[in-house]
Symmetry: C2
Subunit: 399 residues, 2 copies
């Protein structure tokens, strides 16, 4: 019975699976293009779309999430893309290889939208971005969105805020026309990146307990409410260490960690995934954009009393600076002095600062402590007082 995960997992330390060939060698039977239609937890049987069934000892729900659709008329036309899976990228690549694309319109200024801006411009494609919200990347505060907008502008990308897409139709000068409440945009390619949508059907048919967020409820071992059923990745919740609550936070690195935790527990090495602090980042042309923890708005929502500061720092020591900037915002809880979140943006050093601050958040450090952290000082990499110290000390004075 090669599909008993327990049979394989015994040797998990030596098992490296990267290709279908590896799977074959490992003895794991991978059924592609097959959907799990139904699960009978009493009998331990999964019914598949090819009409067969699979018995199981342990079931891992890793059903992920799909790209959210807007249900626009014309959403299925050729040249309209959603981005979620490897196959989505391959489809777009073959589209771009097969015909000249002069112009792209991106619907949604989140991660996918921002990252694809750079990809399109690198290919020489004129690019425009619309979003129903007033600014791009809402996770970052307006001061940071301003820098993002400037970077888009520098790269000849127009951003249309507060713009609602209504439908897609055939264009006149370009293949497609996106009709919005603010007018029409024509393009050869339209990419819709407006977040994710989970399909909970299988979980619900199993009667797994769902969390407040609507995703599958798990514990620190990735166990669901049902015996012998684990869940990992974008279909389940994750513990947020700053809030102290289970939330929905579908990111690739989190899914990896949950998968490892479930695998270890299934393989007999008890293991817990201690949760996230909300670290995230993306690259936009020359900019690093990063954040961790909570925004002020989230902090208020979760009962904290946030205070914040923004500093214009340097990613290197002052004598070495060649005009680089590093914007750093810290958010802390007034009564406890603990860090709650941080945002950073700059040509370099933004992700590095956010990572150090993520470890500080993880450990529950206060501004007082962060103001004196021991960082590896050398002028090419920062000042004797790093931007982190300066921001923490500045904010500490507001407590």
């Amino acid at each position: 019975m090669p599909y008993y995960i327990g049979d394989v997992i015994k040797d998990y330390k030596r098992l490296v699976i990267r290709t279908p060939e590896d799977f074959k060698k490992s003895g794991v039977d991978v059924k592609i293009k097959t959907r799990a239609e139904d699960v009978d937890p009493k009998k331990g049987i999964v019914s598949l779309s090819d009409g067969t069934t699979l018995p199981y000892d342990i079931l891992v729900m890793a059903t992920g999430a799909d790209a959210a659709r807007l249900g626009l008329p014309g959403e299925d036309m050729e040249g309209v893309f959603f981005f979620r899976k490897l196959t989505d990228a391959l489809k777009m690549k073959s589209f771009l290889d097969s015909k000249p694309c002069r112009k792209a319109v991106i619907v949604g200024a989140g991660y996918i939208g921002m990252e694809m801006c750079e990809a399109f411009r690198t290919l020489g494609i004129e690019t425009q971005v619309i979003d129903i919200l007033p600014r791009p990347v809402l996770r970052w505060d307006p001061e940071f969105a301003k820098v993002v907008l400037e970077e888009l502008g520098k790269n000849q990308i127009t951003f249309f805020p507060g713009t609602k897409p209504l439908s897609i139709e055939k264009g006149k000068d370009y293949a497609l026309r996106l009709v919005t409440d603010k007018g029409n945009l024509e393009a050869d390619l339209i990419l819709i990146g407006v977040g994710t949508k989970r399909s909970n059907e299988l979980a619900e048919s199993l009667k797994l307990k769902m969390g407040e967020s609507g995703a599958i409820k798990v514990d620190f071992s990735q166990r669901t409410s049902m015996n012998d059923v684990y869940a990992v990745g974008d279909c389940c919740e994750v513990f947020h260490r700053v809030i102290g609550k289970w939330v929905y936070f579908p990111l690739g690195d989190v899914a990896n960690k949950q998968g490892r935790t479930a695998g270890q527990n299934i393989g007999g090495a008890p293991s817990e995934f201690p949760g996230v602090v909300g670290a995230q980042s993306f690259k936009l042309f020359k900019l690093e954009v990063a954040a961790t923890g909570l925004t002020e708005e989230e902090a208020t929502k979760y009962g904290f009393q946030p205070v914040s500061t923004i500093i214009a720092g340097l990613p290197v020591g002052r004598p070495m600076a060649k005009g680089e900037k590093l914007g750093l915002k810290l958010i802390a809880d007034k009564p406890t002095g603990k860090l709650l979140g941080a945002q950073a943006i700059g040509e370099k050093g933004a992700v590095a600062r956010i990572n150090s601050l993520s470890v500080a958040l993880w450990s529950g450090l206060t501004l007082e402590q962060i103001g004196y952290l021991d960082l590896a000082y050398a002028p090419p990499f920062g000042g004797a007082w790093d931007a982190i110290h300066i921001a923490a000390q500045t904010l500490a004075r507001k407590l």
Copy 2:
């Protein structure tokens, strides 16, 4: 009495001092080229080398350290330099501006030696380095020293290990000749960078208690054993959080933090400097070289049971890698699983990893925790499993 620090410090929040002019404006009387010869703590009086005296309420010892000398015959010849103060750098600059320098020999392969390698090569000066030790930058383990040596080689710098300088004399083909136990090296310039030496005279005349390291003993508020006498910077000890002991660790960023702490306490804002974890770094041409915490040798010396691992990681996500490498070594304590130290080297991302790990060290995290830290993942900045995670999980298996 403008030299009463208390008079000035009242306004410390608004006081920014960068130039002698700022000092004048601030009302602080700065006596340059004046040595404090003696202190009478009972009367609260400092005797100066210009024959005058200064009364004080509070005394801050910030006597620093000097560049160590080797006492070599010829050490005072023109073209021989020690590097410690701004004036040392200015002297070398005017020497280099005044006459052509074809070749430099550096004695000592520590921070000063390594950083000056790059400076000399940038000026087109042929450069050789000798050290009495078997490898450069002893703070890093042999695997890392090997990469440092390769980088030196790529930049046409020859390193002579285990070489003892004996004397300096007039050269034949170049202005100077360094005589060593392994032969002679001629050069137009010789830089001696072999560490620092404190002058403890004043502290001893004051009968300040000295620590085990031989530097002035202070507490977390930077107070010495004597009422109203503070000490900061390279003349005093600092608390090492990993070892839990007071040590001598003379680095610029530490001195800054101690100065701030003393200033706050003197100014009436009680403050403690929580100490260091040993973070340090330098840039060598294209390489970032960084370390934090303890080496295995130090860990053993201080009673830990170190285990370690080295991984060859990536500073970016695998699909984005263009041949960059990131060497990362972690050292942990076998019985507790706590991180004790880390070393990193690479074209990019080495300092960033060491800074995150420094925060982990500061917070006393275990390998188990570090293996699941939430870092801001995006492929341009690291893998979904960062080098930090991989190293921590690899080492955790040795516990």
